[in-house]
Subunit: 249 residues, 2 copies
């Protein structure tokens, strides 16, 4: 039996807040503590806020290119400018939509630059953490330091998908586990070698966590208990399909 | 707290087996029963087997077109023939890969025609259920008939993704709930209208279930407990993005 435990009462995060410490404290405050095998899943929004990865739109002067793209997409030119600064490559563009490859290599809407749950005005946007795997690493190390427990950490963000309606959560940061369960060489129930060889478990953990997170973001972190994560080390960037083997770029 | 409960000891499924009945029996055999708010997630493979949606490759004569495509993709021409019979449209084709739109409208590898966990020989392949929403409906009705409980049912299959390595589970059948949680009109923690408006919760439930299913398929069904599914009715086909609004076809 796997359980998904929301960590409640995490306050509104400010730049400089120690998320790992807050997670340990708030889990303790609800009469719980980390168990062996626990995994923490944290929403990107609070990680970005703690790291000061926010921008005030009123301080942005859009470039000519951003202004052009804002006409094509119907987006605020300052928002487009913020997106382009985080972008390595524009993948698709259409009214209302700007799908880009971020500097990390993730392909997502608006390079992850987001206006929801950021501040009381529409002026502030959050950017993705500069290095979200390193962010996961820092949170994991803080938890280990405070509790002595080796708890893998996944940082998750909301992604749209090709071909399917609606968004789901996928991983943008991973530390302390392999993001992929590789079944190559294992056999199915008829003892034949399995054809489905690689399951993106860090993405599945992100989806599972979202079920307990609630989009109004009152639950920015959850514990997933009694799931056996693939042992070893890896990063969320391992989940990025290299361009040359990608059929959809 | 949400829990993901594996239903164990479901035997090797044969054509004609009553999956809803087996799920109720095996949950009972592990000393449990359905609670209010439970959701059942069932793997496509056992649904297809129960419905006799299998084909023996040795009985297939590949068409000329299938033979051509088998040369381009390096796949068994009889497997290609089975895939094409389930296909509305070929989306991408490359060595080792054949991504198609199924007759239901799902876009996936090999039109969901799969050789793993099907039989002791490589001769038998499973096809997706003819109408996977109707399959979910039948299982839901059986559970309701036997237990008196209204338990939503999700049928799940393994999907590859554009841009990301590895596969995850998404929904191909839904009954008794809405597959999408629509946040339009709701407000974020700063009381601003949310920009992320539609979460594909049936896909997230599928991912969560896969964590407990294990690819060797000893656990073809799980119960997800204490997740508040979006009330109402809908189908997995609601999750198919219409071609005209899809940026990636």
């Amino acid at each position: 039996m796997i359980t998904i435990l929301p960590i409640r009462e995490i306050p509104d995060i400010q730049k400089g807040d120690d998320l790992g410490k807050l997670i340990v404290e708030k889990l303790g405050a609800q009469g719980d503590e980390f168990h062996k095998g626990d995994i923490v899943v944290v929403s990107q929004k609070v990680v970005s806020k703690a790291e000061g990865r926010t921008l005030s739109l009123s301080k942005i002067t859009p470039s000519r290119f951003a202004t052009e793209i804002s006409k094509e997409t119907g987006k605020d030119p300052r928002h487009v400018e913020a997106i382009l600064r985080e972008t390595k490559k524009i993948i698709r563009m259409r009214a209302g939509h700007l799908i880009t490859e971020t500097r990390h290599g993730f392909i997502c809407a608006n390079a992850g630059v987001d206006q929801s749950n950021t501040s009381k005005t529409r002026d502030v946007v959050t950017l993705l953490p500069k290095d979200s795997d390193a962010s996961a690493d820092r949170i994991r190390k803080t938890i280990h330091h405070l509790t002595g427990k080796a708890v893998p950490v996944v940082i998750t963000d909301t992604f749209g998908r090709a071909w399917r309606v609606g968004q789901v959560n996928f991983a943008i940061g991973v530390s302390g586990m392999k993001p992929i369960h590789d079944y190559r060489g294992t056999r199915d129930m008829y003892r034949r070698t399995l054809q489905v060889t690689e399951i993106a478990v860090a993405d599945e953990l992100s989806c599972a966590a979202e079920l307990a997170m609630n989009k109004a973001d009152k639950v920015p972190a959850v514990v997933i208990r009694d799931y056996k994560a693939p042992r070893g080390y890896g990063h969320a960037t391992d989940l990025i399909r290299p361009e040359e083997s990608d059929l959809f770029r």
